[in-house]
Amino acid sequence: MIELRELKKTYTAAGKSIVALDGVNLTVHDGEIYGIIGLSGAGKSTLVRCINLLEKPTGGQVLIDGQDITQFTGKRLLRLRRSIGMIFQSFNLLEQRSALKNVTFPLEISGVGRKDAEARAMELLELVGLSDRALSYPSQLSGGQKQRVAIARALATRPKYLLCDEATSALDPNTTASILELLKRIQQTLGVTMVVITHEMKVIERICDKVAVLDRSHVAEEGNVSEVFTNPRSEIGKELILSGEQELSGGGKGRRLRLTFDSESSQAPILSSMILACQMPVNILFADTRKLCGAVYGQMMIELPDDEREAGKIIEWLKNSPVKWREEV
């Protein structure tokens, strides 16, 4: 379990202090894939680096399996880092080493013999589907292949945790999908707990169980992906999750309702039933469905007729329906 408590990080550059993290609290349980989403500059990269102390927090605690690591130094710190894997946006492979030798690197530095290290590395390259490229150098591999090697390398020392810092941001959509699939499979088969930093919605949607939305050094909101994504409460959450909606929301000056559908209600023809029952036209401003953790979620923004009485009739009907809705102001 990884717990961040009142985590603070302030940089001082040229006499000015810049706050990167200002009292962040969150808990990652074992076996979870925990997503952290935010715009660039929100403090995501700093946050993930506080977990393995690549950045030293200026306040608060980082508890890993109940132990505060923020004061770790020397050998203890190195041992801690060996138990936490990390992958990066730019892969960061050693350019002068073959794929195989990249994977043996963390084993070499923790004193594993050459033969054992290479055997383990081959196992891992097999796991990520690259055993035939073991002797290739990074310059001979594609972006997706490089990230697979990086994943194999991060897993070499059998870490309990894996930190992913924008791991798919440099990849095209198809490659992104296959890397995400690989990460999901690793979590399911090896039980590795992951912290995933990203600015892309689809990454969170596809693999994460929990999500925290980071905004200007704070956690704006946090919870299960299915809850946060179908019903974001914070301004930044709405902006990130419902983006694309703004340009569509022209419409008139009638009252606006946001309907959210879960797996069950998204199957039923709710809107048609409503229009038939109320004999009233509504204006659809926005509609979208998403697949989250295998279930379908949808949402729709509708505009009610200007007439108060007519609008009231629709609201009355909705109150008796299984659909979740709320009025947007």
Partner: protein, 226 residues
Amino acid sequence: MFSDMFQKLWANGIIQRGIWETIYMTILSSLISYAIGLPLGVVLNITDREGIYPLPLLNRLLGLVVNFFRSVPFIILMVAMLPVAKLVVGVSLGNRAMIVMLVIAASPYVARMAESALKEVDAGVIEAAQSMGSSNAQIVWKVLLPEAKPALITGAVISMVTILGYSAMSATIGGTGLGQIAVSYGHQRFNPDVTWCCVFLTVIIVQVIQEVGIWISHKTDKRIRH
């Protein structure tokens, strides 16, 4: 076609010895300069504010010393350092003393060369090595030096050519080799063909060092698809 002087020099094997002395001085001085300059370059790199072991004060101090030796023209440095040569090898004349001079002049040069080669190593790769729990010594030996190897080899080539140039200058205070032959037999005794012959031979030696060095650098660079 050639002057009597040239024919005499060639027949007595003086030019041939000059070639050997120039090569020998260049290679030996380069090796010693690298043995001193490379560790200095590593220290300059890692103690930098952005390095893996920042020690700004030491870095500034070392930088000042390196810059001091680099900014003094070799011909002046050579004269000024004669007592040091006497202290190290017991004489202030001849090739042994010249090698001391060359090393004093070239080591700071090599240090800066190595520092900039190491700076080329991607910060992300170093961060990845840190995230895997590498100690600073492991980062130097297993990341910085191997990843910078092609640039270090290229730097070595440039340093060697510079040292070869210095070695010719050392003729003015008693060094031997092609430089000395050009000065004392060619220039001072009015035999331009001897001078030009030394120039030609020096150019060939530089070309060979250059070509072989760059070939090795490319051959060992895994970033290039062969």
